[in-house]
Symmetry: C2
Subunit: 376 residues, 2 copies
């Protein structure tokens, strides 16, 4: 079986590395050959919108997936829609690869407004929000929802980009100046005690499993570290209920991640990602079956593997540049991951995962290791 992966970043690379032991083959599509994925599998070089390339990819693989959510959902449709293939004079069968996760989940995750509206429809609590298409909209939203709040682009936001925190009423005008010219959304600024994420996986054979909650720490909009399992039975149940609604709504297959704020002991959904997720990297060593392997099993209709944690793990992102490799390799029980990327400010170039027998030991070791990180 051959899997096509649109996007050859570190997520795609880790998908391929999880799939090789299962005997799978891979083919990437990305804009450059020397990408993390392109270093470990064949790659088609082309734009994500290039329907000819997408069709070519679709012809050579059994199933297509993607490693980030800014792939064009409409371009994806060119692979899956037999009518458009026939219109191009091609055999419908020849171009019709299955694409998982479903394009609808991708499209929803690409638009913060659609996403929040869906959360509301499915009764998944989310911070108050309003669409903003004019300064008047923004003023109205800030009045109704309150200040502080966050003005965000509806589309294309990524690792904290495309956001403006409105701390007080006088920031409104500046926020508008900064982000105007594109569809926006205003959201209440949540004072949270914690950020957690739930990673779930559903197979085309309708089997569903959830990993334990992960506790995430961001800085400047970028995930810095994750500790898992975050053991909280009530929140785990609640989060699984919400994620289950999304999986069912989309007729989903693959890994779906839902990020939450924990505020006054309750979950507020922040955003979803229709893919394997940075907060799940610890599952490579810290769970019986990794999110990457389970994503592949899910889209191929194979039985899912256990999502149970093994011990207590923490994952630290390497951002900007890698730390001194030999120093970190000499740490006991530490798995080192280098994505093969050039250093660049704010870029995720690798991560490591540590393993301990108790949460307390893990946490104290995590604190010690964080002090060794180069400044980024």
């Amino acid at each position: 079986m051959k899997v096509g992966i649109i996007g050859a970043g570190q997520l795609g690379r880790m998908l391929a590395l999880a799939g090789y032991p299962l005997g799978l083959k891979f083919h990437f599509l990305d804009r450059a050959a020397d990408t993390p994925g392109g270093q470990v599998a064949p790659i088609l070089v082309g734009d994500f919108e290039d329907t000819a390339k997408l069709t070519e990819l679709g012809r050579t693989v059994d199933v297509i997936t993607f490693d980030w959510e800014n792939v064009s959902a409409s371009a994806l449709a060119s692979i899956t829609d037999p009518a458009s293939a026939i219109a191009r004079g091609e055999s419908a069968n020849g171009t019709r690869a299955r694409v998982w996760p479903p394009a609808m989940a991708l499209a929803t995750s690409q638009d913060r407004l659609l996403e929040k509206e869906l959360f509301s429809i499915l009764k998944i609590p989310t911070p108050p929000f309003a669409a903003v298409d004019s300064l008047a909209d923004l003023e109205r939203a800030a009045g109704a929802i309150g200040v502080p709040g966050v003005l965000k682009t509806r589309r294309g936001g990524y690792d904290g980009k495309g956001q403006f925190v409105v701390r007080a009423a006088q920031d409104i005008e500046r926020a508008w100046q900064d982000l105007q010219g594109q569809p926006l959304i205003y959201e209440s600024f949540v004072r949270f005690s914690r950020e957690v994420s739930l990673i779930g996986v559903r197979s085309t054979a309708n089997e569903t499993r959830f990993y334990p909650l992960c506790a995430n720490t961001h800085a400047e909009g970028i995930l810095r570290h994750t500790a898992a399992p975050f053991v909280h039975r009530a929140l785990q149940r609640e989060a699984e209920r919400y994620l289950q609604r999304l999986l069912a709504h989309f007729g989903y297959a693959g890994v779906l991640t839902l990020e939450f704020f924990v505020a006054r002991g309750r979950l507020l959904a922040n955003e979803m990602a229709p893919r394997v997720h940075n907060s799940g990297h610890w599952t490579i060593e810290g769970a019986v079956t990794s999110q990457f392997e389970n994503h592949l099993r899910a889209i191929l209709g194979w039985p899912l593997g256990s999502t149970a944690p093994v011990g207590h793990s923490a994952m630290i992102n390497f951002i900007g540049s890698l730390p001194q490799r030999e120093r970190w390799l000499s740490e006991p029980n530490l798995a080192f991951h280098d994505y093969g990327k050039e250093p660049r400010p704010r870029r995720k170039v690798g991560h490591c995962t540590i393993h301990e027998t108790s949460a307390a030991r893990r946490d104290s070791r995590l604190r010690r290791l964080l002090k060794l990180l180069p400044k980024s």
Copy 2:
């Protein structure tokens, strides 16, 4: 850093898969492109004796290793020997890649007589043996060492090939007819209670670690399954002492495996393999650091990872053909490995590793799973 691997079988494939997370790149040399290794990394197609190909490989990588021991030691010398490069009119620097493990260990392992003689010199107990180059030699050896015994080719034996068991005096002539025409060795037939192997690793920075002993079960000369750790403090100490002598003798870097018979409670060395070993596949999931990752760390001079076992593991070889994939993937705590090979009788096409919290649970599960295997 780029690692060249001569031989692109499943061992090479698993080396590459262990090295990718560390940010390493790989380049294989093997006789066919669609090999287990060639499916996961670039490959030069050529013969192992082809010095032009070996030189080409040496030029593009930082260090060279090999995934099986029938690589020609003299051809390897063409990469490492700057004089022969200059004789061909090439720059010595341009062709001089480091090769690990040392060619001398490879050459010794390729000749059962040299190997047994070295064991004797290093006072590593081994079954009585004698060189056989004529029927008279064989008769003399059978007389001195006794019957039953095993007549083996000195070179090229592999998975039980090139051996003839002399059960009684009247088999001597037939054994000679079967194997004559090549250098032979006659060994005492050991009535062992168990077969175990010790996998050790030594780095170019002179750091050494040993995995726990593995208990191996062969049938028809092919490893069928391995259980580890085989916990026996005295035998572990004894085995480490012997392997340490070999590592020191060769000035070794990389993984070195030593297989033993356990007879009357003592170890008798059977053979060594200067490479990662089938009896160490369980370390991928069952040890903190796999033999594959540690082999790479060792030949690159990086700090070695912990060789401590995690729980109790058993590895089952898939021989001839893979079992029904979905049935096996639905087993809890089972890691499935498909090498991407075509089915063929007696061929190792994959393996699986199970994980349990006690040796007793592992052993009973192993017995159950063995019954599910297709006949091979």
